[in-house]
């Protein structure tokens, strides 16, 4: 596009690909300040920079939701397709046949993947499509303003929804059941671990599913807290005026609601110190609730499906948010490797490769009776 490129000048630090960090950035985020999704976008920028990935060698994908908006907030120099709600997998599956040297990087939400898109979510796993598949999991529908998602805990109370009556879907278990070849669970606030695991996921061939717990500071909260939806509502009018004067990124733009409501800025929840293997740590969320993070034990063998199933069950029983790489099988070919494709990218083939020779026409007609 015609926006001038950020030039890597003499005093700008560049990586081994000759690119500066700016080459990996995206447009400014329009998500709420403090949204877990933002920190994930930032980690993607860092990871790609540090891994010397050429942005043109990646394809970005997403479905629909706040989470699915984030591919605009990283890798401006990368082609992206923000498709339909729940249908990211199919678009990615087709697109990655265009040039199989490219790696897909998809961002979806818990609504996008575990509700409307559950079917495609599971089939993209069994096909081992060559992409990183991030689910930014906040237990709610952020973009439509706070309905329960399929990953919401039973008993969760939300302002307009009442109490959630149903048991949650476990993204990692679904991925495991569908034979994903890389499965991890992370907490968006653990930047170091997010980065490490993202690097491993980028390096994997085939599908890498990462379920990242990414708190929605706006809707997954309780009625009576300071950082509540109600507070924003009560202050809506005054704040609207502000929004027109200064396009404050803390205004939640493009939501599927009737009006733009003010969301009080909140700091992203970040861990203060690194976690060590096997550690269990309690983390306070914006609404005053807390989650228990548990790092996988030292010596855990992530290549064993039975073990993976066991630790996921155990975590569920103990109400732990288990983080780390839960399962990995680097031996399975990705979808595009399963087919015996020509070396030239399919999308560089021309008429002479694609249209059968004129001589074949008579033969075909003779086959028709």
């Amino acid at each position: 596009m015609s926006d001038s490129l950020p030039m890597a000048g003499a005093n700008v630090q560049v990586n081994a690909a000759g690119l500066s960090k700016a080459d990996y950035r995206g447009a400014p985020s329009t998500l709420c300040v403090g949204c877990g999704h933002n920190s994930i976008a930032n980690q993607i920028v860092s990871v790609c920079y540090e891994m010397n990935i050429v942005p043109e060698n990646i394809l970005k994908f997403s479905g629909i939701g706040c989470s699915s908006k984030s591919p605009t907030y990283f890798l401006n120099r990368t082609f992206g397709f923000n498709g339909l709600h729940g249908r990211m997998p199919s678009v990615a599956t087709g697109a990655l046949f265009g040039d199989r040297s490219m790696r897909g990087l998809g961002v979806s939400g818990d609504g996008d993947s575990a509700s409307i898109g559950m079917g495609q979510f599971k089939h993209v796993m069994r096909r081992n499509v060559n992409m990183v598949y991030i689910v930014e999991n906040n237990g709610v529908y952020g973009l439509t303003k706070g309905q329960f998602s399929a990953t919401a805990d039973k008993g969760l109370e939300l302002k307009k929804q009442g109490t959630n009556m149903y048991l949650p879907v476990d993204i990692c278990m679904e991925a495991l059941a569908s034979r994903a070849t890389f499965i991890a669970r992370l907490f968006a606030g653990n930047a170091k671990q997010v980065k490490e695991v993202l690097k491993a996921a980028m390096a994997h061939r085939g599908i890498a599913v990462i379920d990242i717990i990414s708190p929605c500071v706006t809707f997954n909260n309780q009625e009576n807290t300071y950082y509540s939806y109600d507070f924003g509502k009560a202050n809506e009018e005054m704040m609207h005026e502000v929004s027109f004067q200064q396009a404050d990124p803390s205004f939640h733009q493009g939501s599927e609601g009737s009006s733009i409501s003010y969301i009080p800025p909140k700091p992203e929840i970040m861990l203060e110190a690194d976690m060590i293997e096997g550690e269990i740590r309690e983390v306070k969320l914006h609404d005053g609730s807390s989650i228990q993070l548990k790092n996988l034990e030292k010596g855990y063998n992530p290549t064993n499906r039975m073990e993976a199933m066991r630790v996921l069950e155990e975590a569920q029983e103990n109400n732990w948010l288990l983080t780390g790489i839960i399962y990995i099988d680097p031996s399975k070919p990705a979808l595009t490797e399963l087919s015996n494709l020509v070396d030239t990218p399919l999308n560089r083939l021309t008429e002479k490769d694609l249209r059968p020779a004129p001589e074949t026409m008579a033969k075909i007609n003779s086959l028709m009776f």
Partner: protein, 597 residues
């Protein structure tokens, strides 16, 4: 005996679905075709795999009329359950052949009646083991019929040779039963009906094929690279034929593949994959029927607004869910013309013969890539699943049109100065880059959210209006790239007929019937939408125009009326769909009736 009637009658076979009769019926069809007699064959079958009554009708027409006829001069009854109905359906003076193990009374005296000892003939052949009996028993009626109407045995053998792919054993086995039937008939039956076939040369240079096979081959000659599909009658054999022919037609020296075919988990995924592939620069397609098309609509709208080339084949049938899945229809048109989220209109190609199924197979990709738009090819069950005699497929006469694509060298030349949705040429068609392009200015973000000319997120109302108006302009430009209508004129005709798709043979025949009754009509067959000016000139230049289509509500007429309301009063609808291909008689009568008013 009355005068001989040669090469001008219809044969209907009433059998049980799944009983293996289709080999026998297509053998009759193909043998007649090889005798040089114009024929058409249609399966009128229920949607189960086995058990229900099914009919196959063959029309023999020295004049080359290929439409279905209701009249049944010759009926062959093999199914006890439809015996009474079949007997009833024989035209007066016709012939009725039936399996003599059906112990039902033949009550008619106005027709010739021929019992056939199918079971005992099969049993008396020592080479046919018990397990093969059912498979070959249908060949007995082929033989009896052949003997009684004068079919050429060598042509029957050719048909079997083709059917069994030159495998000597099944050919010999089946042929032995044909001969047994023929010999028995020669010795035991006395000809009491007037129907005969005689060799002609009217099928010289023609081929026999079905529309799905033709569409599949056309797609391959169009360079298809990605197919995402989900099984549904009557579209299934289209994707399956692509799969069958790709390996041989697109062989590379090292045996590697230049394409991918994925059977997806549903139609949402089928079109999603195809759109992903189309976006990534591949010639991508999917094929389905009404229920599947309904599922594809959200994606179809997305492809419209994000301007992604993709080809979708709709081989139409009737109804929702299972509906009448083995009946033909043109009932999807009204919905398909605008399917999506709203404020969408679509490019539709409408093949009117099996040959055009082939042609539009390759052309559709050129149009889709040129227009950067989804293109719908509307076929139907009658084309898709029946064998038709047709002109041989013609190799594409124009090079592939890959449309406005910028690769690295192109971006280099313009110093990376481009915008995905900028209308640089004033024809409404922007330039696109393809993922995999490594130029640092090549990337853009594709989204269903509001976007501006630079593909940036925008909720600005005027930007939305501007982009949508530009797309509308693009669809004006499209008319120039679409196949225009085909017109059959009659000197001095004041009224016209407009139609599309598989109604063509019925209308061509009706045109002759009406001329015989002194009513001249001009006939225009549309081959695409949106319509070119020619179509409205045709309507404008006639006193009245009848728009004939196989649906209840007259979708094509609605579309044309909305397009040119000032001509609306000239357009009359003849819309009817009972799942069977239209007959010329129906069309002619409908026009005569409306003309009387």
């Amino acid at each position: 005996m009355t005068e001989r009637i040669v090469n001008d009658f219809s044969i209907t076979v009433g059998t049980v679905n799944g009983s293996g009769s289709s080999t026998a019926n297509t053998t009759i069809l193909r043998a007649l075709f090889k005798m040089g007699i114009p024929v058409s064959g249609k399966n009128l079958f229920p949607s189960n795999i086995q058990g229900l009554p099914t009919w196959y009708t063959i029309r023999v027409s020295k004049d080359g009329y290929l439409a279905r006829r209701d009249e049944r001069e010759i009926v062959i009854a093999i199914n006890p359950n439809s015996f009474a109905k079949d007997l009833d359906s024989v035209a007066p003076g016709g012939a009725f052949f039936y399996a003599d193990d059906i112990k039902l009374a033949v009550t008619r005296t106005d027709i010739a009646v021929y019992p056939m000892p199918i079971k005992s003939l099969v049993k008396s052949n020592p080479e046919i083991t018990a397990n093969l009996r059912d498979l070959v028993s249908n060949m007995v009626y082929v033989g009896v019929l052949a003997q009684m109407i004068g079919m050429d045995m060598t042509k029957i053998e050719q048909a079997l040779d083709f059917h069994f792919k030159h495998k000597a054993k099944p050919i010999a086995l089946n042929m032995s039963m044909v001969k047994a039937g023929a010999e028995w008939a020669a010795a035991n039956l006395e000809k009491k009906d007037p129907f005969y076939v005689e060799s002609m040369n009217k099928t010289d240079g023609m081929i026999m094929a079905d529309g799905n096979m033709a569409g599949a081959l056309g797609s391959i000659y169009g360079g298809v690279q990605f197919v995402g599909w989900y099984p549904i009658t009557p579209a299934t054999s289209l994707a399956e034929s692509i799969n069958d022919y790709l390996p041989t037609l697109r062989k590379t020296v090292d045996g590697k593949e230049t394409y991918a075919v994925v059977q997806s988990e549903d139609e949402l995924a089928a079109i999603g994959m195809a759109i992903g592939a189309g976006w990534a620069g591949l010639r991508a397609m999917t094929s389905t029927s009404g229920p599947g098309l309904s599922l594809m609509t959200e994606f179809y709208g997305l492809a419209y607004y994000t301007e992604v080339p993709v080809v979708v084949w709709d081989v139409q049938r009737m109804g929702p869910s299972t509906g009448l899945p083995t009946r033909t229809s043109q009932g999807d048109l009204g919905f398909a013309a605008h399917m999506g989220h709203g404020d969408t209109n679509h490019i539709i190609l409408m093949p009117g013969s099996v040959n055009e199924c082939f042609e539009f197979g390759w052309r559709a990709f050129d149009v889709a890539e040129r227009m950067q738009a989804p293109v719908l090819v509307m076929s139907d069950l009658d084309f898709g699943m029946n064998q038709w005699m047709t002109e041989p497929f013609k190799y594409p006469d124009v090079p592939m049109d890959r449309g406005k694509v910028l690769w690295e060298v192109d971006l280099e030349k313009i110093k990376g100065d481009w915008g995905r949705y900028v209308d640089k040429d004033g024809d409404g068609i922007p330039y696109r880059t393809i993922p995999g392009n490594r130029h640092p200015n090549s990337a853009y973000f594709t989204r269903g959210t509001g976007h501006d000319e630079m593909a940036r997120y925008s909720e600005d109302t005027q930007t939305w209006v501007r982009v949508l108006d530009r797309i509308k302009r693009k669809y004006e430009t499209a008319k120039k790239y679409l196949p225009g209508p085909v017109t059959h004129k009659q000197d001095g005709a004041k009224i016209g007929v407009i139609s599309f798709g598989s109604t063509d043979p019925a209308i061509l025949e009706a045109q002759q019937m009406l001329a015989g009754k002194g009513l001249k009509v001009d006939y225009m067959r549309l081959r695409s939408l949106p319509s070119q000016d020619e179509v409205f000139e045709f309507i404008g230049s006639h006193e009245r125009v009848y728009i004939v289509e196989m649906n209840r509500d007259g979708h094509l007429r609605e579309i044309l009326m909305v397009e040119k309301p000032e001509l609306a009063t000239k357009m009359s609808s003849i819309a009817y769909n009972d799942g069977l291909p239209l007959t010329a008689k129906f069309v002619a009568n409908a026009i005569l009736k409306l003309e009387e008013k």
